[in-house]
Amino acid sequence: MARGADGGDGARVWQHVFLLPEYLKDASKKTKSGLVFVKLANPCSGEGAIYLFNMCLPQLFEIKVFKEKNRSWFINESVQSGGLLHFATPMDPLFLLLHYLIKADKEGKFQPLDQVVMDDMFPDCILLLKLPELEKLLRHVTEEKEIDKKKYYKYSKEKTLKWLEKKVNQTMAALKTNKVNVSARVQSTAFFSGGQVSSDKEEDYVRYAHGLISDYIPKQLSDDLSKYLKLPEPPASVRNPPSKKAKLSDEPVQAKEDYTKFNSKDFKTVKKNSKMTAAQKALAKVDKSGMKSIDSFFGAKHVKKK
């Protein structure tokens, strides 16, 4: 949040254009403070990003910024360069907590939350602990123990994947109602109003929703979720441009976890054993002829590992 550093006379102040939920107005009725922008670790990149807390409710908001090249604002009788438009939208704090829970899991033991959510780089992460119903939220992603009325938590990948799959499902539903073009084929024209939707395949929706959710979780977890959802490998053209770390994880999937079975070549066994979820059912309905088989997907990975 370095922009405040430049002083300058009052006439040349930087003006931020924001969209805020209407109900934040009501925060002013209770206190004279309580709305605060802080920098926290972005759970996808680990880098700093801006979040907003409304400490009156309390509630967490994510800040996205619309930015296009060659834009500026006329704001009443002034000009503001950049033409940025900020969006503050309510955010599920579990994504941010998950970042710390996964980190803490390296120690492999149950810990109280205030020992987990600590960060030298982003000390304001402790504000997350003030959010309501944390215990209820944490049940989605942790195993918990209670000793002397104090709760201790341990990250559970199994529960987390289940939770993320629900996230994917509700995101898919919203993609459909919002008529977002998720088609892998048409990329250049981003927005079609209606019409297009019916031709989008279920698999495209699952993949798209998985991609969106992946913007809120670490890469490894995104890969695990992809396997959990049994997403076939996407055609090369659809993937986001590969990054430095794009090669699949160096580490084998944890042996102690249940998900080793997804490494098995026998796809059918998996299908029989597990109750299919909505996303999986959606995929099962898809005609997979002409697609790379799950087997070859995982097979290829094994080759890479060794």
């Binding site: 949040m1 370095a2 405040g4 002083g7 009052g10 006439a11 040349r12 102040v13 003006q15 254009v17 924001f18 969209l19 939920p21 209407e22 934040l24 107005k25 925060a27 002013s28 209770k30 206190t31 004279k32 403070s33 309580g34 709305l35 605060v36 922008f37 802080v38 920098k39 400490m55 009156c56 994510e62 996205k64 619309f66 060659n70 834009r71 604002w73 006329f74 704001i75 009443n76 009788e77 002034s78 000009v79 360069s81 950049g82 939208t89 309510p90 955010m91 304001d124 003030k130 629900k166 509700q170 995101t171 539903a173 919203a174 993609l175 977002v180 981003a190 927005f191 969106l212 809120y216």
Partner: protein, 165 residues
């Protein structure tokens, strides 16, 4: 050294004065299809707004001898647009004493959220719609901005609590 400086900036909170959100004046807002590399007062009401015309396919204007086509866009439902600025040091002195006085009657936040090295912002104006301009053609439904404005409704679905088992 530079790193520790950067870090200290990251650790400054930016407080948004809640009372400034209550009834700020409406603002006239135009998003232009060009970069003007300055932030300062400029006579928009003299040069720009009086020359806006309603043509057959939307708003028409020009800037620097180039033709602009524009349309009104509304903010997403449930949202309010605000223009916010940072309070500068001089302004802060007066404002904070006010602020402390008033706060005695209000509910104190649970702990000292504000530290003296923090930054403070306030809304100076609000809007429910603005004009977006394209170079020679109406931005239209395919504009990135239009897509961006649909973000809050998708965000709501991504971040909604999942149903319990």
């Amino acid at each position: 050294m530079e790193n520790s400086y950067e870090e200290s900036i990251d650790k400054r909170r930016v407080h948004l004065r809640p009372d400034t959100l209550r009834d700020p004046a409406p603002v006239s807002l135009h998003l232009l299809p060009c970069e003007v590399p300055v932030n300062r007062p400029t006579p928009v009401g003299c040069f720009f707004t009086p020359a806006i015309r309603l043509g057959p396919d939307g708003l028409e204007a020009s800037f620097r001898g180039r033709s602009l086509r524009g349309e009104e866009v509304v903010v997403p439902p449930g949202f309010v647009g605000y223009v916010m600025t940072e309070e500068k040091a001089e302004m802060l002195v007066g404002k904070q004493s006010d602020h402390e006085r008033e706060q005695q009657e209000l509910v104190e936040p649970p702990e000292a959220l504000e530290r003296d090295f923090d930054r403070f912002m306030g809304a100076t104006a609000s809007f429910s719609s603005f004009t977006v301009w394209g170079l020679e053609s109406i931005p239209g439904p395919d504009a990135k901005l239009r897509g961006a404005l649909s973000w809050p409704s998708l965000a709501a679905a991504i971040h909604a609590q999942v149903p319990e088992d």
